[in-house]
Subunit: 601 residues, 2 copies
C-alpha cells in the first residue's frame, strides 16, 4: 500500500522514531515524524501510523515534543523556545523590565508571610524578561500579513495544513484567520484558525477547585494535546493562578488562552463592583508578559443590554458576562472594557495577543437561543472586531451556547455577516438541555453542524458540563468527541486530506487489518479493548470475520467474493462487469459456490 | 409550580405509584402514572417526575409494566395480553392450528435427542394458538385506517403523542406512518412511527455469540426500553433462535422486529446458495405466528445491482444484503424475495406484520455514501413500497449507514420522494469512519440531523459498533445517545412537548433545584454521580452554586440579582425595565451592591 496522507501534504523526507507512550496507554503504532520546512530551524511534527501492509498514514500532530523519544522533556524546565530565533530575527521587539510579580497575582495577601518565597518558586525553570514591540508597535501576524510578509509561523502552519504559506498569509490579512502566537510564548508550535483551514478544537483546563495542583493542570494540558486539542484555555481561579499559568505556558506547544477578568476579580476579592480599568489593564499586561496567546474579553456586554436578559429562562450564564453586567449595574456606567477598548487593542498588538471577543450574553438554555440579548451583543462584537483590526490585533469571535439545530445556521450566518468572516469560536452548541452527564454528545451534534457551516474552532464540552470539574477521563472524552465533530465537518467541507484518513481506515476494515484499524482510529486503546472483550485471542486480530456476526454472517467476506468475481480492482467498467456475470456465476457454481474467502490462519 | 407536560397532552386524571427500581439504580423520583383513555380497557402509561417545588412533569414511557410496582411481572409467565379484547372485538381474525415447531427452528438437527424436550420448554408460560385474518384477509392498521376506522391501538398511540386519534389514522392511511402490532403480540403497548410524530429509537439485541443466554436477551430488552427504546430488534442467530424470540415477545411491551433471513440461513446451515423461497416463507410464517411486529426484508437487492458494489471501498456491509447477493450470484437468478414479493405481502397483511424494507446495499464507509448501488436499490424499495401498500401492508424503509453530513439531506430527500413519504428508519448515519469505539457519537450526529429532516425512527448504534457485541452498559449508552438525537430533532421540528421538557430542566437548573435537574434528565443516576464527585454533601444539593465556578463566580446567582432588580417575572416590558434602571442601580448600591442571592442553608 502506498503512503497515504491526511491533514498534511505528501511528505518529501522525514525521520521516524519508535513511538513513546507518556500516557501509559498500550502501544499505538503511532510514530513521531517531522516534515522539513524551507529553513533548517523549521521542522513540522506529524504523527505517522505505520500500516501492517507497509506504507504509512501521516496525521496532524498537536502533542508536541512529549511524544518524541529523542527529545528529553522536564515540566520543571519547560520546552525549548523553538520560535526564539524567528522572533529575534524580525528585530522589531525589545526586552524590557517587566511588571514586578506581586503576591496578589497568586491570590495571596500583599506582603503575606511566605508570599515572596512562593513567588521565587513560581517556575523553577526561571522566566525570561518579557518582550514587546519596539515603542509599542504592533508586532502581530496580522500586521505582517497586511504588509505582505510571510513569517516563519505562517510557513509552519501552512505545512501543517497542507496549503501554501501565501494562503495562510492572505486569510490572516483579510481577518478570516488568526495565528495566535504571543512573542513571549516562544515554545509554541504555530497553528492557524480559520474556516479555510482544518477545524480546530480547544480544551479548557483550570484549577477552580483548590484541590487540583499545578502539576495536575500541566498534565491535563499535555494529556489534552496528546488526544488532539489544538489550543488550551487555562480558566484557573483562586490561589496560585499566576504560578499555574506560568507552568502551563512554559510547557505548552499549543496556544494558551485565558479570561483575564477571572484573575482581575480575584485581585478585588470577588467583588465585581470594585473592578476597575486599572486593575484589569494591570492583569492583562501581567498575562501578556507571561506569554498568553489569546484572551477572552467580554467587551460586548453593554449596560443597555443587561435588562434584555431579565426575562430570560436562564439569564446570563457566562461568568465573564455576569461579572461585567454586575459592574455596569453597580456603577450604572458603560462597561470599562468597551470604553477603553482602543487602549486594550494597543496593548495586545504590542505582544501579538489575539482577541477572543467573548459572548457574555450567550444563551444558557434552548429557550433563550438567538434572542435579542444575544444578537445585540453579537452586533457590538462586530463593531469591536473592526476596531481591533484597525489596531492590528488578530480577532476571533466567541459563540454559543445552547442552540437547537434549526437555529444554528441563522446564528453563524449572522456572525459571519456582522463580524466580516472573523473566525467563529463556538462552545458546542448544545442542541438540548435534557441530558446532563452527556453534554459532550448534546453539544457534539451542534458542534459538527456549526463547524460544517463555517466555525473555525470548537470549544469542547465534557461529560461533566453543568455538574462538576472534568477529570483526566472527562478531558479525553471531551477532546475525542470534539475531534469527531471537527473531522466530520472537515469531510463535509470536502477536505481531501480528511477523506484520505477515512479511506485508510475503511480499507483496513474491509481488509480485516485489525491492528491498522485500531492504530488509525482516534483512540486505539479503546478500540482495541472493545474488540478484545469478545475476541481476545491474537489470531482474532487477523481473522477474516469479527465477533458481531461470526464467520457465517460476515458480509465483508461475501463482498470479497463478489469483488473477486467482478474484478473489484476498480479497473473493470460496469459493462465488462455486466458482460462477465453469467460466465462468472457458472465458474462460481463449478467452484462449489464458495463466496467466502478462506479464513486466514 | 404548575404541572408541565412533555410528549403527552395535559393529563385529565391519573394515578401515581411510588417508583420501582428494577435496574438497581438509585432512586430517580420517576413515578409510574397512567392517562385514561376513552374506554376502561385503555390506560396509557406515562413517567411522572415529581418536582421538589410541587407539580410534576409527565413524560413518554416505554418501560412497560416492569416499572409499575402494582403489577407483578414474571418473565417465565410473560406480560398480560392488553390488546386481546381489542383484537377479538374486531371479530375479523381466527385462531388456527399453527405450523408445528421443529427442532430446526432452534438450530437443532431434525429429530436430535432432546430436541423435542427442548421445544416443550420453549416458553414455560405456554403459547396460545396463532391467529390470523379470517380467510387470509388483511387485518392491518393500514387496512382499517383506509376504511376510516380508528382502532383502539390508534387511540392508545394518539394519547401517547398528544394528538387526535384522527391524526394517527390519517397518517397511517396515507402510508406516512406505521403502527407495528402483530395480532399475535397482544402484550404490546401500541405506538406510532412517522415524521408527524415524535422521533422513535430502536435498540438491537440478539445472541449471535452462543454465550449470551435467553434470560440475558430478555433482560437486555427490558433494560433498553427502560432507558427509552421505542422498539427492539431481535437479531439472534445460531442456537435457540426460536426459543429466544418467544421469550422476548411474550415479555415485550414494545414492537419487536426481526430479520427472518438470518433464521432461514441457519436452517440451510449457513449456505446462502441453498436458500429458497420455500424455506424463507416457512420461516416468515413461523415468526408471524409468534407475534413479530415488523420484519426487515432485503427484497431490493437485485441481481443487476450486485456488480455495482464490486468497485466500492467496502462492498456490501449489510448481512442480509450480502446473503441475497450471494444467492443471486450462485443461481444467476433474480432475488426470490423480489419475485415472490406479492405473496409475501399477503402473508404479512393477514397478521398485520409491518415491512421494514432493508437497505442491503447501504454504504459501509464515507467513500461509498449515496452511490449508484445505494440509490438504485432505494428506487426499487420505492416500487416495493407501492406494492406493499396495495396489499394493505404497513411499510417502513431502512436507510444508511455511513454518510458524511453534506450528503445526508440528499439521501433523505430522495427516500421521501421515491417512497412517497413512507417512514424512514435509519441506522445512524455515521458521519465519519475514523472513530471505532465512539460510533454512538459519530452516528448520533448524523442521526440528529436526518431525524430533523424527516426520519421517523432511528436505529441506535452502540460504542461497540464494528468491534464487538454490546453489553448492558453499551445498550444503555446507545439508547441514551439516540434519545438525545431524537429529542434534539423533536425540538428542531418545533414540538411543543419537547420544548416543555427542556424548559422544565432549565428552570430547575436556574433555580438550583439539583434533585429536579437530576430527575428530569435522561439518566439521573449518571447526572447525580457526576455532581457528587466534586460536591457530595447533601447541602450541596440545595446550594446556590456548583463546583464548576464556586460561589464567587456563579453567573446564575448574579443573573438572579439582575432578574430581581428588573422584574424578571416576564411581566415587565423592555420600557418599564429601561425606565427603572437608574433608580434600581441606586437601590442596588445602597444595598451594598449585593448581586448575589444569600446562600441557602
Amino acid at each position: 500500500m502506498t503512503s497515504q496522507q491526511s491533514r498534511t501534504p505528501e511528505n518529501p523526507s522525514s525521520e521516524n522514531h519508535s513511538p513513546e507512550n507518556p500516557s501509559g496507554e498500550p502501544e499505538f503504532g503511532w510514530h513521531k515524524g517531522y516534515l522539513d520546512g524551507p529553513r533548517p530551524d523549521l521542522r513540522v511534527p506529524v504523527r505517522r501510523v505505520h500500516l501492517t501492509g507497509g506504507g504509512s498514514v501521516t496525521l496532524y500532530d498537536t502533542s508536541g515534543p512529549y511524544t518524541d523519544p529523542q527529545v528529553p522533556t522536564d515540566v520543571r524546565r519547560g520546552l525549548a523556545p523553538v520560535r526564539e530565533g524567528w522572533i529575534l530575527g524580525r528585530g522589531d521587539t525589545e526586552e524590557y523590565e517587566g511588571r514586578p510579580v506581586r503576591p496578589e497575582d497568586d491570590g495571596l495577601r500583599a506582603g503575606a508571610r511566605g508570599a515572596l518565597r512562593n513567588l521565587d518558586a513560581v517556575f523553577p525553570g526561571g522566566s525570561r524578561p518579557p518582550r514587546r514591540g519596539r515603542g509599542g508597535r504592533a508586532v502581530s501576524q496580522l500586521a505582517y500579513a497586511r504588509r505582505g510578509e510571510t513569517t516563519a509561523e505562517m510557513e509552519f502552519a501552512a505545512i501543517r495544513e497542507g496549503v501554501s504559506p501565501e494562503t495562510v498569509r492572505e486569510e490572516i490579512a483579510a481577518g478570516r484567520a488568526v495565528l495566535p502566537a504571543n512573542v513571549n510564548h516562544p515554545e509554541l508550535e504555530p497553528m492557524v484558525i480559520g474556516k479555510r483551514f482544518l477545524v480546530k478544537v480547544n480544551a479548557n483546563i483550570g484549577n477552580s477547585a483548590v484541590t487540583s495542583s499545578i502539576e495536575e493542570e500541566v498534565e491535563k494540558m499535555t494529556w489534552a494535546t496528546r488526544w488532539g486539542a489544538d489550543t488550551v484555555m487555562d480558566l484557573s481561579t483562586g490561589r496560585n493562578i499566576h504560578t499555574t499559568r506560568e507552568w502551563v505556558l512554559r510547557n505548552s506547544p499549543v496556544p494558551i488562552g485565558t479570561v483575564p477578568l477571572y484573575q482581575a476579580l480575584e485581585k478585588v476579592d470577588g467583588r465585581a463592583e470594585e473592578l476597575s480599568w486599572e486593575v484589569y489593564r494591570d492583569t492583562v499586561i501581567e498575562q501578556c508578559e507571561q506569554g498568553v496567546d489569546y484572551m477572552t474579553v467580554h467587551a460586548g456586554v453593554l449596560l443597555r443590554y443587561v435588562p434584555l436578559t431579565a426575562r430570560r429562562k436562564t439569564g446570563i450564564v457566562s461568568r465573564g458576562g455576569s461579572i461585567m453586567a454586575a459592574w455596569c449595574l453597580a456603577h450604572h456606567r458603560e462597561s470599562f472594557l468597551y470604553e477603553n477598548f482602543a487602549e486594550l487593542c494597543d496593548i495586545l498588538a504590542s505582544y501579538d495577543v489575539t482577541f477572543s471577543l467573548g459572548d457574555g450574553l450567550r444563551p444558557g438554555s434552548i429557550a433563550d437561543a438567538n434572542d435579542e440579548a444575544q444578537f445585540a451583543e453579537l452586533r457590538t462584537l462586530g463593531e469591536l472586531n473592526r476596531v481591533a483590526k484597525e489596531h492590528g490585533v488578530q480577532t476571533m469571535i466567541e459563540g454559543p451556547g445552547h442552540v437547537p439545530m434549526h437555529k444554528i445556521k441563522e446564528n453563524i450566518d449572522l456572525q459571519q455577516e456582522v463580524c466580516e468572516e472573523a473566525p467563529f469560536y463556538t462552545l458546542g452548541p448544545l442542541t438540548t438541555d435534557i441530558a446532563p452527564g452527556y453534554d459532550h454528545i448534546t453539544s457534539g451534534i451542534g458542534a459538527a453542524m456549526i463547524a460544517w457551516w463555517g466555525t473555525a474552532m470548537l470549544c469542547y464540552v465534557t461529560p461533566k458540563e453543568h455538574l462538576g470539574l472534568p477529570d483526566r477521563d472527562d478531558v479525553k472524552t471531551g477532546v475525542i468527541t470534539y475531534r469527531i465533530a471537527a473531522h466530520a465537518a472537515d469531510l463535509a467541507k470536502g477536505h481531501e486530506g480528511a477523506q484520505r484518513w477515512d479511506d485508510a481506515l475503511s480499507d483496513a476494515r474491509f481488509e480485516f487489518r485489525w491492528e491498522d484499524q485500531f492504530n488509525l482510529s482516534l483512540d486505539p486503546a479503546t478500540a482495541r479493548s472493545f474488540h478484545d472483550e469478545t475476541l481476545p485471542a491474537e489470531p482474532a486480530k487477523t481473522a477474516h470475520f469479527c465477533s458481531m456476526c461470526g464467520p457465517k454472517f460476515c458480509s465483508m467476506k461475501i463482498s470479497h467474493g463478489i469483488a473477486e468475481q467482478f474484478g473489484g480492482d476498480a479497473g473493470a467498467t460496469p459493462e465488462e462487469v455486466e458482460a462477465g456475470m453469467l460466465k462468472k456465476s457458472e465458474e462460481f457454481a463449478a467452484a462449489g459456490n464458495r463466496v467466502y474467502l478462506p479464513l486466514a490462519d
